[in-house]
């Protein structure tokens, strides 16, 4: 019933010259998305990945279990000394992420261009 979460990783360089790993999600982010969210994140080499962008452009349903997965990702990233930013969230999920406090640990941007420009 839930649409399967797909994820892929793109390696980009910010205008300031910093390497950035972009995790792109597609489909629902729910309790069944552990591999797509945490698995994709854990596949990144920790030694060389210091900046991570989460792309939610292709996501239109995130429930509380999905939010918990994002928080778990943020915990692991914080422990590894990585910085995480998000873009592509709908206005509603921008509000939800702000309400639950995720914005305190992951900056939100409207687009990839805006996010990269800030890094």
């Amino acid at each position: 019933m839930q649409s399967e979460t797909k994820s892929r990783v793109d390696q980009l360089t910010s205008p300031a010259g910093h390497p950035v790993a972009v995790l792109r999600f597609e489909g629902d982010i729910a309790s069944t998305s552990k591999d797509a969210v945490l698995g994709a994140y854990q596949s990144l080499p920790k030694e060389t990945t210091k900046l991570i962008l989460l792309d939610f452009t292709g996501v239109d349903y995130i429930n509380s279990s999905g939010i918990a997965l994002v928080i778990q990702l943020l915990i692991e990233a914080a422990n590894a000394g990585q910085k995480v930013y998000c873009f592509g969230l709908s206005p509603h999920f921008t509000k939800v992420f702000t309400m639950v406090g995720i914005t305190k640990y992951a900056g939100l941007f409207a687009t990839q261009t805006e996010a990269l420009a800030a890094l």
């Binding site: 019933m1 509380s64 939010i67 918990a68 206005p91 509603h92 995720i102 640990y105």
Partner: protein, 148 residues
């Protein structure tokens, strides 16, 4: 909807994760027919989805022999949603989630559902069934949020 009559829509969901989206879509359709603005429809969708997830996971404990009832009652100025399960109801409303405690491993990363429900609708109450089952959560979202 052009008239002001009360309208009731009922949906019965299987106790299976993912089917909360059926209730979510139904609630969104009713809210749109009533003239709710898009941002309020999105609030309602998340609140209904979380209420159904709680009913499936905690109320019915993922028992597929049980079902979850969703009753939407459209009034002229508000939409009431009851999500009914066969659990015994919740003991107490959990504390507001604390992102700092979660980030420091002092609180489970999960446990956002009831907070989201309360934050996104105008009224939310959890009622335990008198017979130890048929507990429900009642949500109310008002067409004119600022109206008394």
């Amino acid at each position: 909807m052009s008239d002001l009559k009360t309208t009731t829509v009922e949906v019965r969901l299987p106790t299976r994760m993912g089917y909360e989206k059926v209730a979510m879509s139904t609630a969104a359709s009713v809210a749109k027919l009533m003239g709710f603005p898009e941002d309020r429809v999105e609030d309602l969708k998340t609140a209904v989805a979380e209420a159904c997830i709680n009913a499936i996971e905690h109320g019915n404990r993922l028992n597929e022999k049980l079902s979850v009832g969703v009753v939407l009652r459209a009034e002229p100025d508000s939409l009431e949603v009851k999500v009914i399960d066969d659990g015994t109801g919740i003991g107490k409303i959990p504390a507001k989630p604390d992102i700092d405690r979660k980030m420091h491993g002092e609180e489970d990363p999960r446990g956002m559902g009831m907070f989201l429900i309360q934050a996104l609708v105008d009224e939310a109450e959890w009622v335990a069934g008198l017979d130890g089952k048929s507990s429900y959560v009642r949500l109310l979202i008002k067409l004119d949020k600022d109206a008394e």
